[in-house]
């Protein structure tokens, strides 16, 4: 090594693979529709650019599988192969070195047969080894850009700008000549100098493919290649070029060779091209025996495969989930910045009743972003149901009908696969409906199921078709301090209300002049009826035999029930969120009485006949048969024994609460206890 010039082993800048998302879409499509279980090796196209502002990026996209590659300015297409393996084991276990050598055994004969001189693009190739996990939309892949590991040559000094060897006029001639070259000749070519002019020539004009080797090239010539690198070192293609060149011209050993790396600016000029002066050692190692290299390093810098996790944009289930999520986020971003979108995702809702109301409520919960929904119902889907009960279809009615709770839970998944929906098939025991010896065991089992379900969920929706069926869940939910949303239907009227919680009656009496009642002190469905003012529409709503409702009533009540819940969840006090009391509608509502979505009423009573609704507020009733302290304490004390006593005789509740028999009797047949079942069910 001489003193005045520095020589270093040449460092080729390897390619970095860059995959367009459409590549995975095409690969998936081919795997599913063409290859299926066949493990085929396919010819594909990839491309790199010799633009000076991008770097050594090697790209594939959806068009890589086309018969004819798409052309793009300043890009060069390379033919390669993809080996898509059927299993991750095959992907891992394939001998990577042997695979590269086998590609080398195809390329090297091209060099030996001199076909590369007329088809220089045959020197370039690439491999993609892949495995597609189409359940998860994970794509494991590994690119290789095969090159012989030998010969080793040296770069003299640093590379120089092309202006050090060519004048402006010559650069112009280079640019024109390069443009007029056939596209496949552009990767490796020659530049000759005649006088002051330079000429661009394909390799076949300089090298003679009919000679096994060539010694003297008697004209003034430099070689050139399109250079993907934008740094001081040459790009990967030069490595193949040098191997081929030295095989054909062994006499270059011991000399210095000048090679131009063509680099184009965005506007197409070649002024940023680079000049490499390369020292070829005397004794070159043979290519044939040296083996092939070129596997790409992964992000950690190791030789290893990469992973494309495409699930977020390709998995239809994830897409559905994130798209429906986005709708709720948009509400936050655009309209209600303080809304908490996470609380809906995590709140567990228990729906007692999977009929008209249950179906409606479940759909609205989904729309609001709730993802945990459990149905309790004992009924089966009948032929009259699907037109009103929006989660069911005709098929659910066949063969005696599916269990409503199960059909509802499964059909909800058909709407949104990521929903966590469950079904509990259980009959809800009722006061005054005696449990015979034969049914005792089943009743106790059901009780356990229902009580556990209430304890495990955050919100209990009472969407049942009889008044009595609401008693047990009202008591148990009050005992656990759960949010209860109750909805009941009349022919053209509805009631939607929230309940207070247990053991709060005595804490503080509600003053008649108060402007609000704390949420925990609000009355339940049973307190309310006793204390409610006389009902002017009694005749219309009292008719319990007529179980048909105007179809819109369930949709309205179901929607309101969910909206009340969401408003409550968005209130910092949640179940304790106050309800306005003695509100005359004139004054402004104090901000502490409102949540993010506004003030939350205790109850909404609506009348379709007049298209009106009112929002009465009532405090807990001290002698309530469902939520009073005395009843809850009795339940805490005696548990199932107490419940069974109540089921066997409604009179027992009367004893416990001190209500007169008359009142109780009236209550049990009171208003708004409409079935949302259809006539054939009762």
């Amino acid at each position: 090594m001489s003193l005045e010039q520095q020589q270093q082993v040449i460092q080729y800048v390897p390619f970095t693979s860059f995959v367009h998302p459409s590549f995975w879409h095409s690969l998936t499509d081919i795997k599913l529709n063409v290859d299926k279980l066949n493990e085929s090796t396919k010819q594909i196209y990839g491309r790199f650019t010799y633009r000076d502002d991008i770097g050594t990026v090697f790209e594939v996209d959806g068009t890589s599988f086309n018969k004819v590659p798409e052309t793009e300015q300043m890009y060069y297409n390379v033919t390669g192969t993809i080996m898509n393996k059927n299993t991750i084991e095959d992907f891992k276990n394939i001998d990577k070195a042997a695979l590269l050598n086998s590609i080398g055994e195809i390329i090297w004969p091209n060099i030996k047969r001199k076909t590369w001189i007329s088809n220089p693009n045959s020197l370039l190739s690439f491999i993609i080894l892949s495995f597609a996990d189409l359940k998860k939309f994970y794509y494991y892949y590994w690119f290789a850009f095969p090159c012989p590991s030998q010969p080793t040559v040296y770069l003299i000094d640093k590379s120089q700008p092309i202006s050090t060897v060519f004048s402006n006029k010559q650069l112009e001639e280079l640019s024109v000549g390069f443009k007029s070259l056939d596209i496949e000749q552009k990767c490796f070519f020659a530049i000759t100098k005649e006088g002051e002019s330079i000429y661009v020539k394909p390799m076949s004009k300089i090298l003679d493919p009919n000679k096994p080797t060539q010694n003297a090239i008697d004209i003034d010539v430099v070689f050139a290649f399109i250079d993907p690198s934008n740094g001081p070192n040459p790009g990967w293609p030069l490595r193949l070029f040098i191997a081929a060149l030295l095989d054909h011209c062994p006499s270059l050993s011991g000399t210095d060779v000048t090679i131009i790396g063509i680099r184009s600016s965005g506007s197409g000029t070649l002024n940023n091209s680079n000049v490499y002066t390369i020292a070829i050692p005397q004794n070159l190692q043979k290519v044939d025996s040296s083996g092939w290299v070129g596997w790409e390093r992964n992000d950690k810098g190791n030789f290893g495969p990469k992973l494309a996790n495409m699930s977020a944009s390709m998995d239809p289930i994830k897409l559905a989930d994130s798209s429906s999520d986005l709708n709720i986020k948009l509400m936050k971003w655009r309209l209600v910045p303080d809304i908490d979108v996470e609380v809906m995702k995590h709140t567990k809702c228990l729906l007692l009743g999977a009929g008209t109301l249950g179906c409606q409520v479940a759909r609205d919960l989904l729309a609001w972003g709730f993802r945990h929904i459990t149905f309790i119902d004992n009924g089966k889907v009948s032929y009259s149901n699907p037109t009103r009960q929006v989660l069911f279809n005709h098929r659910d009615c066949l063969d005696g009908g599916r269990k409503k709770a199960e059909a509802a839970a499964q059909n909800l998944k058909l709407i949104l696969p990521t929903v966590n929906s469950k079904a509990i098939v259980a009959h809800i025991p009722m006061p005054g409906h005696p449990v015979g010896e034969s049914l005792l065991e089943e009743t106790v089992t059901n009780l356990k199921l229902i009580i556990e379900a209430i304890a495990e969920h955050d919100v209990i929706f009472l969407l049942l078709d009889t008044r009595e069926a609401r008693w047990l869940p009202t008591l148990v939910a009050a005992h656990h301090g759960k949010i209860v949303i109750n909805a009941a239907l009349g022919f053209d009227s509805y009631l939607v209300m929230r309940h207070g919680v247990g053991l709060r009656c005595m804490e503080s009496a509600v003053s008649v002049n108060s402007t609000y009642i704390p949420g925990g002190l609000l009355g339940c469905y049973f307190c309310n009826d006793v204390t409610a003012p006389g009902n002017s529409l009694k005749d219309r709503t009292l008719d319990q035999q007529c179980t048909v409702t105007r179809p819109g009533v369930a949709a309205i009540a179901g929607a309101l029930a969910v909206e009340v819940l969401v408003a409550l969840l968005q209130h910092p006090l949640r179940v304790e969120a106050p309800a306005l009391y003695n509100f005359n509608g004139d004054e402004d509502i104090a901000s502490e009485l409102q949540g993010v979505l506004g003030p939350i009423p205790h109850s909404i009573r609506g009348f379709l006949h007049s298209y009106t609704s009112v929002t009465p507020t009532c405090a807990k009733f001290k002698q309530c048969i469902a939520c009073s302290d005395v009843v809850i304490n009795k339940y805490r004390e005696k548990g199932t024994e107490f419940l069974l006593k109540v089921f066997n005789s409604g009179k027992y509740l009367e004893e416990v609460t001190g209500l007169s028999e008359l009142q109780l009797a009236a209550e049990m047949t009171d208003i708004l206890t409409f079935s949302d079942e259809d006539q054939d069910q009762e």
């Binding site: 970095t16 998302p21 965005g266 996790n309 977020a312 798209s323 986005l326 986020k329």
Partner: protein, 167 residues
């Protein structure tokens, strides 16, 4: 004209003219013309961009697509950004990259991720009602609706529009 919308034919003609200029200045836009359904024609440009994430300079590719929005009768702007394995960046990641110089609230009210009407894959799409508003003001002065449209939105994006387009 006194209406605020343009026809698919207007859009295509403007797009073709735009591509002529792009070709001349090597700006990289390409046109994908749909012969049978003109409104499915679109223009597209891909470019590499680099961003520093966790102190490392990362290479991403961005794709800009301008297509015709059939229901609003205006050009629509959509884009995607992905990393080297082809994984798309999420909305929040894009916002954090300060790819768009806009406040958080405005960003979310302008850009949403949805299924692309032409590609049927997720893209970030600029809400067309904003476009309609913007174009309304410029419609009558515009020589090329695509140029006007890109001129209006390019300040929001890392999309440097050459003066050669005759802004």
């Amino acid at each position: 004209m006194d209406i605020d919308t343009i026809t698919p034919e207007d859009f295509l003609a403007s797009a073709k003219h735009f591509i002529e200029i792009s070709d001349k200045i090597h700006d990289g836009w390409r046109i994908y013309e749909h012969k049978n359904e003109i409104h499915k024609s679109y223009i597209k440009k891909e470019a590499f961009i680099t961003f520093k994430s966790q102190n490392e300079l990362c290479l991403y590719k961005i794709e800009y697509v301008i297509f015709y929005n059939l229901s609003y009768g205006v050009p629509s702007f959509s884009f995607n950004v992905w990393n080297s394995p082809g994984t798309l960046l999420k909305l929040e990641e894009i916002r954090q990259m300060c790819f768009i110089q806009i406040t958080k609230e405005e960003f979310y009210s302008v850009i949403t991720q949805q299924e692309h009407p032409i590609f049927h894959r997720p893209y970030f799409i600029m809400h067309p009602c904003h476009t309609a508003q913007l174009l309304k003001e410029f419609k009558n002065k515009s020589r090329n609706i695509v140029v006007t449209f890109l001129g209006l939105i390019s300040p929001l994006l890392r999309l440097n529009l050459s003066l050669e387009y005759g802004l």
